[in-house]
């Protein structure tokens, strides 16, 4: 039984980081730990809490966008947040506790709070900093610098894959472990409902880095050769209108279905014959694990260590950023039902380590190592 704080920049949004925090918080609580979710800033509109893990938001109002007018407010809010976090740290009593931060800003706030409390209090807390992005993403932006500054001295830094971890180690961190994020669901049955058509599914956000424009170009090269197939695009995002315009001019547009974001990804996946992830850049995209967990074969672009790890030798990789090459790989996959069946079957087995139970076991093992 350990006191555990799970921190994210905000815990009210309906996003990937929040989903992981809720899953882990719930998982820890079920295993008897004393858990609190901590958000730095509130988020509007707040997504209603499911389950009974206590939540604590540090700032009294939403963190405003940066401008000359908000400079002062931001300084005050940040100071409040640090103070509130310090109070939380002091409330530990006599035991040892573990803080798991899911995002970089949270870690920076925590670092300031730790500097405020007495050394005896500081010693009681073990800090695990999770980073949900790939090394390449961190290195090409500002994150790597922030990580090297704020995570070097904490107890553990977790990367999503061993390969990313190795890259962070080469960059100078000496406290690296690999820890994947857990799947939110795992269907008992994976038998597909057979429909009139075969379905190629994209399930995700419609934004630039997801490469859906490449998928649409690729589809236009394939569509005529696979008359029994449909392309189903499930999701929304800033590029939605542009993508529809693009599709309207190309071959095969009549067999593209545009669906809005779903709250039941399992049912979407269980009615898919093939899932595609055409991203330009990724971390450890759980949609691949979710699809494969449902027994659906996946074609993904080779854009991160995480994708490679999830695709292994049971899925198919396509070169990133190249719609023609993507079309070739999809073409092969769509023409080969034997491969699809075998891939789906093997993939489901390979995705076992990403199930919630397995990931929670890995976390408890890590906690055991960290607390000794």
């Amino acid at each position: 039984m350990t006191r555990i704080l799970l921190c994210a920049n905000n815990i009210d949004e309906l996003g990937g980081a929040q989903r992981v925090v809720h899953l882990l918080a719930d998982g820890f609580q079920r295993r008897g730990h004393d858990v609190t979710e901590v958000g730095i800033t509130p988020f509007e509109p707040a997504h209603a809490a499911v389950g009974d893990v206590p939540r604590h938001v540090l700032m009294p109002q939403v963190w405003p966008k940066k401008s000359t007018q908000t400079e002062r407010t931001r300084a005050q809010l940040r100071s409040t947040a640090v103070g509130q976090m310090a109070e939380l740290l002091r409330s530990i009593g006599d035991e040892q506790g573990v803080i798991i931060t899911a995002q970089v800003w949270s870690m920076e706030i925590l670092a300031d709070a730790l500097a405020l409390v007495a050394p005896s209090v500081r010693k009681q807390w073990k800090v695990i900093g999770q980073y949900h992005g790939a090394y390449a993403a961190a290195a090409s932006g500002r994150d790597l610098g922030r990580i090297l500054r704020s995570y070097r001295d904490v107890t553990i830094f977790t990367a999503l894959t061993a390969e990313d971890g190795s890259a962070f180690t080469r960059a100078g961190l000496r406290n690296v472990r690999a820890m994947p994020n857990p799947l939110a669901f795992w269907p008992e049955e994976t038998t597909r409902q057979i429909g009139p058509d075969q379905v190629l599914t994209y399930l995700g956000r419609l934004s630039e880095e997801k490469g859906v424009d490449l998928l649409i170009d690729a589809w236009s090269l394939l569509a005529d050769r696979h008359p029994t197939w449909r392309l189903r695009i499930v999701g929304d995002g800033p590029m939605a209108d542009r993508l529809r315009e693009q599709a309207a001019l190309l071959a095969g547009m009549e067999r593209i279905d545009w669906d809005s974001p779903t709250v039941d990804p399992a049912s979407v996946l269980l009615t898919s014959d093939l899932v595609v992830l055409p991203s330009r850049t990724e971390g450890l995209p759980l949609v691949i694990a979710e699809a494969q967990g449902c027994g659906v074969p996946v074609v993904a672009t080779d854009c991160s260590s995480g994708v490679r790890q999830l695709i292994g030798d049971w899925g198919r990789l396509a070169p990133r950023g190249d719609s023609r090459a993507l079309a070739e790989v999809l073409d092969e996959a769509m023409a080969d039902p034997a491969w699809r069946a075998e891939s789906g079957r093997r993939a489901r087995v390979e995705m076992q380590p990403y199930r919630l139970d397995a990931v929670m076991n890995a976390w408890e093992k890590l906690l055991g190592q960290v607390l000794r």
Partner: protein
């Protein structure tokens, strides 16, 4: 108290200023369940008091003070081992530190792999320059477990005991302890562990911080190696290691021999070559040569050519050859000797001499791989030394000797002494005149006069640099440092009257640098222009000041010459893709390339890389990072690249991109349809296939 999982054994002797730092680094470990056994080797300083004070606050510390100093590290470590109660042990020296995550990293890996021992990386921290360098980085590219030394003979290079965690029951089961009474005890201990272990873990992450204070230590380490005891112990340790390896495979035995020649051989041949006392040097050489003469002769085939020549000097008692050949090793590939071509091979000092260890003198002296005679003139590393230097007033008179190793410095060659600054610009120069040819292709030059100054402003404090000899032949220029071995030039003041403005340093003071090089820094004469005039006379100033045009001409005349290439090999260009994120080292293993292809190709290595090409590879690899893309591509018969913008700009092209893990996603994606080579060995094969034999 919680049962400790790791016993960390810290040893020290009279190191009060640093032992508390080491102790603190162990106390700060993220892994808290440790016991800290501090063994003091009968120090006479404040060590004991300091440690006791700290021990009072931390119940995990057990302090043991030996009554009698043991003179080494073995006994204190063995004492600690005997007291250790945890299932795992680690060692630390008083002048170093553990990284705060070391115990956690090593323990977690050891448990995960159920290992007998796990090795982490050590980082050498240069205290003076505040710089870190990973030790044996090639061993620590990834985390892995191996079953034995046979699977990873390179572990032989990881000889220290402090970057590892050991299973205590494993050590006890095989009665492995440190041999007392000898220096270099680490090596035997570590080798025993590697030989007995069935599961050896290797981690990428750094676990040990090895502090190196060059200013205080280098002198004492070098001094130490000049002592007889040092080489005697070294030989004894190696005999014991050879005994341990009796039953090992041929591959491991040979690897150990090669490692000894490359590493210990380099150290001791340098010491013998640079020893000021001839008799003492001879005594060292005798002991060392006796052991070396019994080494598997095949091992010498794996050693760098110049080092092999030096070994030949050692084994035949030719100290002069040893000393001069070691200058190639020690002074950035400078050639103090004569290289002779015979058929298509090149020999250091010809082929004369007796056979040794079953090999002819020509085998020992063969330096063809260095391509010394076929290097472009501009990249040659000539040996120049001052034999005489005098300054009277503003007049310098100097005598320089140059080893004309290729025998082709004819009357068409012009020479200058040049003062170079840190941006490689010429600040001043003095022309030299050829005087005579002394024995064995050594040229003597004389220069006398007032150095011509190529600056039009006063010197500033930042204007320091080095002295070199600039040789020019036609449009090709070679600039290599001057050494001062016999002649004493340290402290000599060379005035530059032409820029003697008021209150500014107005000349250069020569300073002895490392590797017997000669540097200069600004120095002055008190009193300003009037004192100058009295001392040097206005005539000196007037002679120097000329029209602007002549000053500029003089400076331009000394700039680097035309781009020259060898004509006996194919020219290959290597232009790797880089990203803006992170440090950029050569993705290609240049040493491996040189080993395979030195005699076939001349490589122009360019691109946005942060590492330079080491001088020892200049025979076959040119550092082309400063050259224009056009120059590189126009000269190349073959292009090796992984930059999509450059593929096929020269035909043929080879796409080469070694697998660099997650960092590969920072590089531009490769175009589809080109075969990609990922290993240097495969690349070498492909290059040879495409180019065929050089004619």
């Amino acid at each position: 108290m919680i049962t400790p999982l790791v016993s960390v054994i810290l040893i020290g002797y009279n190191d009060a200023t640093r032992v508390t730092r080491a102790l603190e680094s162990i106390r700060q470990q993220t892994l808290e369940s440790i016991e800290i056994i501090v063994v003091d080797d009968a120090s006479t300083d404040a060590s004991a008091q300091l440690i006791t004070t700290i021990a009072e606050q931390d119940p995990r510390i057990r302090f043991v003070k030996r009554q009698v100093n043991s003179g080494g590290c073995s006994a204190p470590r063995n004492d600690g081992l005997a007291l250790a109660s945890a299932p795992w042990v680690m060692f630390c020296d008083s002048d170093d530190e553990l990284d705060k995550h070391s115990c956690a990293n090593l323990l977690d890996a050891a448990e995960e792999w159920n290992a007998d021992l796990v090795c982490g990386a050590a980082v050498r921290h240069d205290v003076g320059k505040d710089r870190d360098k990973i030790w044996r980085p090639e061993l620590h590219r990834s985390d892995r477990m191996v079953a034995s030394l046979e699977d990873e003979p390179d572990l032989l290079y990881d000889t220290i005991s402090v970057n590892k965690i050991y299973s205590r029951s494993f050590l006890a089961r095989h009665s492995i302890t440190f041999p007392p009474g000898l220096l270099f005890e680490d090596q035997v201990f570590t080798l025993q562990c590697f030989l007995q272990a069935k599961r050896i873990g290797i981690l990428q992450t750094c676990v040990y911080i090895w502090n190196v204070d060059r200013s205080t230590e280098e002198a004492s380490i070098t001094q130490g190696r000049m002592q007889q005891r040092n080489v005697v112990d070294r030989v004894e340790i190696n005999r014991r290691m050879d005994d341990l390896l009796i039953d090992a495979s041929d591959e491991v035995k040979l690897a150990k021999a090669v490692k000894f020649l490359r590493h210990e051989g380099y150290l001791y041949l340098s010491t013998i070559g640079e020893h000021p006392d001839t008799e003492a040097a001879d005594a060292l050489a005798d002991v060392f040569a006796e052991y070396v003469a019994r080494i598997d002769p095949r091992a010498f085939g794996y050693v760098r050519p110049a080092l092999r020549v030096a070994f030949y000097g050692l084994l035949t008692g030719d100290r002069d050859l040893l000393r001069r050949a070691m200058r190639w090793e020690r002074w950035a590939s400078v050639v103090d000797g004569v290289v002779v071509r015979s058929d298509d091979r090149q020999y250091w000092g010809g082929s004369e001499g007796d056979p040794i260890l079953g090999n002819d003198s020509s085998w020992w002296r063969d330096v063809t791989a260095l391509q010394l005679l076929d290097m472009p003139f501009s990249t040659r590393r000539y040996f120049h030394e001052f034999t005489e230097l005098q300054v009277k007033g503003a007049r310098v008179s100097a005598t320089i000797e140059t080893a004309d190793y290729a025998g082709d410095l004819g009357p068409d060659v012009q020479a200058h002494i040049v003062w170079i600054d840190r941006t490689s610009s010429v600040v001043a120069s003095l022309p030299l005149v050829f005087e005579s040819q002394t024995a064995a292709q050594r040229m003597r030059w004389r220069g006398s006069g007032v150095p011509q100054v190529h600056m039009r402003r006063a010197l500033m404090r930042s204007d320091k640099g080095s002295l070199a000899i600039r040789l020019s032949r036609g449009s090709h220029v070679n600039v290599t440092a001057i050494r001062s071995v016999g002649a004493q030039v340290d402290g000599t003041f060379v005035p530059f009257p032409a820029i003697a403005f008021a209150d500014r340093p107005a000349g250069s003071e020569l300073v002895g640098g490392d590797r017997a090089s000669v540097g200069w820094r600004p120095a002055g004469i008190a009193g300003g222009p009037i004192a100058w005039s009295r001392r040097f006379g206005n005539a000196a100033r007037r002679r120097i000041s000329g029209s602007t045009a002549s000053l500029t001409d003089a400076r331009n005349a000394l700039l680097p010459g035309d781009f020259d290439l060898p004509d006996n090999r194919f020219v290959v260009a290597y232009l790797p893709a880089t990203s803006d994120a992170g440090p950029r080292a050569w993705p290609l293993d240049l040493t491996e390339w040189d080993r395979q292809l030195a005699t076939h190709c001349y490589l122009l290595a360019g691109g946005a890389i942060d590492e330079s090409v080491p001088t020892r590879l200049w025979g076959s690899i040119r550092d082309a990072r400063g050259l224009s893309l056009a120059q590189i591509l126009d000269s190349a018969a073959l292009l090796i690249t992984d930059d999509p913008a450059l593929i096929d700009t020269v035909r043929p092209s080879i796409v080469f991109r070694p697998d660099e893990g997650a960092a590969r996603y920072l590089l531009p994606p490769l175009p589809v349809g080109y075969p990609v080579i990922t290993e240097t060995a495969e690349l070498a094969q492909e290059v040879q296939r495409i180019l065929g034999d050089p004619s």
